[in-house]
């Protein structure tokens, strides 16, 4: 790949991850670096994603770039029946970089093949969302000072949650992680990821609940258990309160322990947790801007 696209988290090596972490720290120290002065970035959101779009657009604005694009497919030429191929071919004539969110899986890899300028995947359906993973990693590094020897708790929907899958793949590149998967029977971590960990000799454990073991965690990564994921509504009713984090559960947790969540949260983290210093999900969102500034600078060789 000559162009520095970011499509899948596994496109980056361990060295790339560490470089992005260094750049993100640099942008956090000085967010308003006008490296995109005179540059145009296309922000193409074929489905709405307010948080991701605002985070990217904040990053671009802080770097002094100009933005063209749309925030949902309804206001683009897609409604006239234009193919993704043609939209990307056209936009890559205008912009220096494309940030794209699209509901179809694999759309980002395809866009990168068609485009003459770098493409950053801001989510392609249930497939990949690599910038989320990099901001999660930056949040972990900031709060733990290392990626090695961490005990990571992943809680909730581990079956469909692409954020936990990508984070698992990325952190498996570092030394001696331990994964604890906490999920209901219907939403267990898929077998392919467990095979991957076994092949790498990485320890993991599976649990149906986590109240008794949370004291071992360095990171608790919460995700939402959605009702519509259950074939049997009764099953959802049985488990819906098991995967809710409450402030009372945090009493005996490690001092360095932090709670992450990709947001939006519904009820899986009780609001009384927000006041706890171990709640880190809003800072995590802020870190997303620095991580995305880093990713953009890396994609365009600006640093």
């Amino acid at each position: 790949m000559n162009k520095k696209d970011l499509i899948s988290i596994m496109d980056y090596s361990k060295e790339d991850y560490l470089r992005i972490m260094d750049l993100a720290a640099d942008f956090e120290a000085n967010p308003n670096q006008k490296l995109l002065d005179g540059k145009v970035v296309a922000s193409l959101f074929f489905e709405p994603s307010t948080r991701t779009r605002l985070s990217f657009e904040t990053a671009i604005n802080r770097m002094g770039g100009r933005i063209i694009g749309f925030s949902d497919a309804g206001s683009s030429s897609v409604t006239k029946g234009e193919t993704l191929h043609d939209t990307i071919r056209m936009v890559s004539q205008y912009a220096d970089l494309i940030v794209m969110r699209h509901p179809m899986e694999g759309s980002a890899r395809y866009a990168a093949e068609v485009s003459s300028v770098p493409v950053i995947n801001a989510g392609d359906g249930a497939n990949q969302h690599p910038t989320q993973t990099l901001l999660d990693m930056y949040s972990i590094l900031k709060t733990q000072q290392t990626f090695d020897n961490l005990n990571l708790f992943m809680v909730g929907d581990l079956r469909y949650g692409r954020t936990v899958h990508s984070l698992l793949m990325a952190l498996s590149q570092f030394d001696n992680p331990i994964f604890n998967f906490i999920a209901p029977e219907e939403l267990l971590m898929p077998e392919e990821y467990k095979i991957y960990l076994r092949e790498k000799g990485i320890r993991y454990f599976e649990h149906l609940e986590f109240t008794d073991i949370i004291s071992e965690a360095d990171i608790v990564y919460m995700t939402r258990v959605q009702k519509e994921r259950f074939s049997d509504p009764m099953e959802y009713e049985k488990v819906k309160n098991v995967y809710i984090l409450k402030n009372s559960m945090l009493k005996n947790t490690k001092p360095n322990m932090r709670i992450l969540h990709p947001l939006p949260r519904v009820n899986e983290i009780a609001t009384d947790v927000d006041q706890n210093e171990k709640a880190y999900y809003f800072q995590q969102a802020r870190n997303g801007v620095y991580a995305r500034e880093a990713i953009i600078a890396h994609a365009l060789n600006l640093k």
């Binding site: 899948s8 193919t83 699209h102 899986e105 694999g106 890899r109 359906g125 990949q128």
Partner: protein, 155 residues
């Protein structure tokens, strides 16, 4: 058995120059014809289906006159006819025998099983890396999902 083989030879007549593709699973005969674009060829073709086979139960055979295949071309059928054997015929003699092997990458031919994959909504040539050959498992270059042998549909 010998008596039977003689009859078989009579049913699908010999060719003087060309290629005989044997041991094709009967149910995949027409997919093999389509993948090798034999439905487009001007050359004479004979084929037989539902012939008895010790290995496959029912097998199919194709004889194409005056046509020879590159390995890359013939390996495309390995997905649906993994035990196919080729006899290269010159002047009624078998001068070479070939087997097919599944390549490490499959371009085109197979549909991605994932209905949400972009290759199923735009005219894109599919591309898979072969992550297992027995049974076949193909990882889509685009959506990264794995199409297993029992989910494979030929385009």
């Amino acid at each position: 058995m010998k008596e039977h083989k003689k009859k078989l030879k009579l049913k699908v007549s010999a060719i003087s120059e060309g290629t005989v593709i044997d041991h094709i699973p009967s149910e995949n005969l027409f997919d093999v014809i389509s993948i090798l674009e034999l439905d487009q060829t001007p050359n004479m073709i004979t084929f037989g289906a539902n012939l008895e086979s010790d290995k496959l139960g029912k097998k199919a055979i194709i004889k194409v006159s005056n046509q020879f295949f590159e390995n890359d071309e013939i390996n495309k059928i390995a997905l649906i006819a993994p035990h196919a054997k080729l006899n290269i015929i010159r002047d009624y003699e078998v001068i070479e025998k070939k087997e097919v092997t599944i390549p490490d990458r499959i371009v085109g031919i197979v549909k991605c099983f994932n209905p949400k994959c972009i290759t199923n909504s735009e005219p894109i040539t599919t591309s898979f890396s072969v992550i297992s050959k027995e049974p076949v498992a193909l990882k889509c270059k685009y959506c990264e999902k794995i199409t297993h042998e029992n989910q494979m549909v030929i385009k």
